[in-house]
Symmetry: C2
Subunit: 398 residues, 2 copies
């Protein structure tokens, strides 16, 4: 029998206690041992909770209980989450986490500490929510040199883009609807500005290319500037608009960025609507595989964290620590990446064709036109769009 503790009793923490109880047997089979909830670290009282007798407010109780061998950190943020994670590892406990901010910024340090203290450090739930993604990437695809990872890594923005596309809403309308339904937070900045997707991109890039990128250095554009006209014109041109995090292996390091893209309607990523996520991995042996599913939510995220708990227990004598690489990897500028581009412009056909000869134009309901350019890098694009009354330019996934 192995005891574990849950740090945090919010959405994921509560869901985790439920999921662990509901699938006790199956988890025990994978863990090779029965798993018993020891404690839940809380800040408030929960007099009606069925786990009343497990709630503690002082982390030291968990830290000092030698029977607790795994700690699930689902607090979020960097402050107490980071401190408790370090203290748990120092106390010889494995740490599992769904906290992308913490993993993206201090994951390497925690992984090194875990290695030193002979415990596991796992964070499947930090990217792609419930989708099994990091374990397949780092273990199942071990026979591959990973060359590229990219995907729809944030459910809130994908919900907003889907609503703008299907219901013709503005960004503000779709955001308000997402907030009403609980898919966006009161302060949506981290989601809509792409910061959440950027953290997940950093984790994927670190696992794939080992550069341990500083997430704040990754060029990141969110979806706040997108107009309904962009979604309308994109669809008429045969594309869906998706916020993609992308990272590619380069000789000099890793090229990584987060930007809204036009994705061809036949592409699997274009079929991912609402709060769903999807991540594609290109490997030297396998080619391309794509993993799709719920990227957030109470039980999906708990599903990923619970599997990490079971895996940490299974590997008590042989700790599991995904390789986040070495600090100081080079971030290659994204501007040089050659792609076709979507451009929206207020321009007559002959004005456009003077700059972009032969492109096919679509005129939408706003009297602006949209078109797809031949492949070129960003400076070449900017040089040309400066000659037009261009209103938007988005990269096309080719």
């Amino acid at each position: 029998m192995t005891k574990y503790a849950i740090l945090g009793f919010g959405t994921v923490g509560g869901g985790l206690a439920e999921v662990m109880a509901a699938q006790k047997e199956r988890l025990a089979a994978v863990a090779g041992d029965e798993l018993e909830l020891g404690y839940i670290l809380v800040r408030h009282d929960y007099p009606d909770s069925p786990w009343q007798d497990k709630l503690v407010k002082d982390f030291a109780v968990i830290e000092s209980d030698p029977d607790v061998s795994v700690v699930a950190e689902v607090i979020g943020g960097v402050g107490p989450a980071f401190e408790y994670s370090k203290r748990a590892i120092l106390a010889g406990k494995s740490v599992v986490s769904s906290n992308k901010e913490l993993v993206a910024t201090h994951g390497l340090e925690l992984a090194a500490m875990a290695k030193e203290h002979g415990v596991s450090y796992l964070f499947e739930g930090s990217v792609g929510g419930g989708i099994p993604l990091l374990r397949p990437l780092s273990r199942c695809l071990a026979a591959n040199r990973v060359d590229e990872v990219y995907g729809i890594l944030n459910g809130t923005t994908n919900y907003i883009l889907t609503a703008m596309d299907e219901q013709g809403q503005t960004f503000a309308q779709a955001l308000a609807q997402a907030q009403k339904l609980g898919y966006a937070e009161a302060d949506p900045t981290a989601d809509v500005e792409g910061i959440d997707a950027c953290r997940k991109t950093a984790i994927l890039a670190d696992l794939s290319f080992g550069g341990n990128l500083d997430p704040t250095a990754i060029p990141t554009t969110g979806i706040t500037a997108l107009a309904p006209a962009d979604l309308e014109l994109a669809r008429a041109l045969g594309y869906a608009v998706k916020l993609l995090g992308r990272a590619m292996r380069r000789q000099e390091g890793c090229l990584a960025f987060v930007e809204p893209h036009l994705v061809p309607l036949g592409h699997t990523l274009a079929s991912i609507g609402g709060v769903m996520n999807a991540c594609a991995i290109r490997g030297s042996a396998v080619g391309e595989v794509i993993f799709c599913g719920p990227g957030a939510g109470r039980h999906p995220t708990a599903s990923a964290v619970a599997a990490d708990i079971a895996d940490a227990v299974r590997h008590r004598k042989d700790p599991m620590i995904p390789d986040l690489g070495k600090a100081g990897g080079a971030l290659v500028p994204a501007g040089g990446l050659i792609s076709p581009w979507y451009v929206r412009a207020m321009a007559e056909p002959d004005e456009v064709h003077a700059v972009f000869p032969g492109v096919k134009l679509i005129y939408g309901s706003t009297q602006e036109c949209g078109f797809i350019t031949p492949p070129m890098d960003e400076p070449a694009l900017r040089e040309r769009t400066a000659l037009l009354d261009s209103r938007a330019a988005l990269r096309v996934l080719a």
Copy 2:
């Protein structure tokens, strides 16, 4: 340093030797030990092979070498592959396999033997080729009661259906093209009759529901009876035609079958073209996740087998044997499953509406019409289509 052997030097065996050599370091990190190719079991001479000094024709050489701790069986079929697998396990060696026929028919026996002898038995490459699928299903989703698995599990038939759809070919034309390109074998029976998909469905069902189904008892319909008109009418109605293997948890056992289905064009499975595969898993905590990628091929399948070799070495002291359940699980008849249906009929609108009131009709280039019925079970459908000159009926994935 750990020695492994490859049984079979066909497409997958050759690809496996290449992949293991190309990603030696990454595989060693996952395995926790360096991996060295000991032998390749061959039937013929390969004087030009770079692995010349590793080729042996007598399995006893491998069997009796105590340094070989993992054997990769990529021979296929049930005869020698089954015998060698048993002998390897009896000799205390882990066995990994991409052989769906063997796993579907004798997997339970081999798993029990492996358990008894303290070795691993892994078969990631047997379903979905290079897509990480079985390990995510049985380990990453350990916190879920799996309720349903379904997917496009055969690349040959998906290639044929894609060609019929996109190029308007007949089944015979598309098959001939697939054979010319090496996507279909000279005797395509196992693929086009759905037998290959059925074996994979059985493996997925066993891992998900533990019934250890007899694959030959699973109701299986291939794609040979599909007409170009079906793909044309399906598309006009907003669907793609896909051969799906499906298995669902039922109180009385497992409901499993293989049939061509109409899949809504917005569904992720509809975006899977050519030889690609995709598998959806519905779990109690995660909801639905979908895994897509190359379902066959030299390097993709080798990618899966190589990861199994590394995992078997990593878990030498703690063998990995996915749970295929117990023999004798009940197979629930599929006829009772309620679905909408696609029907193709040579009939005037009033004839159709007399039997299926209110359905929307599409007339194609053959003067036949196609329509989607309300949800009903198969006997109810047959009772009604008997009243029409109906030419085809396919289940709709709803």
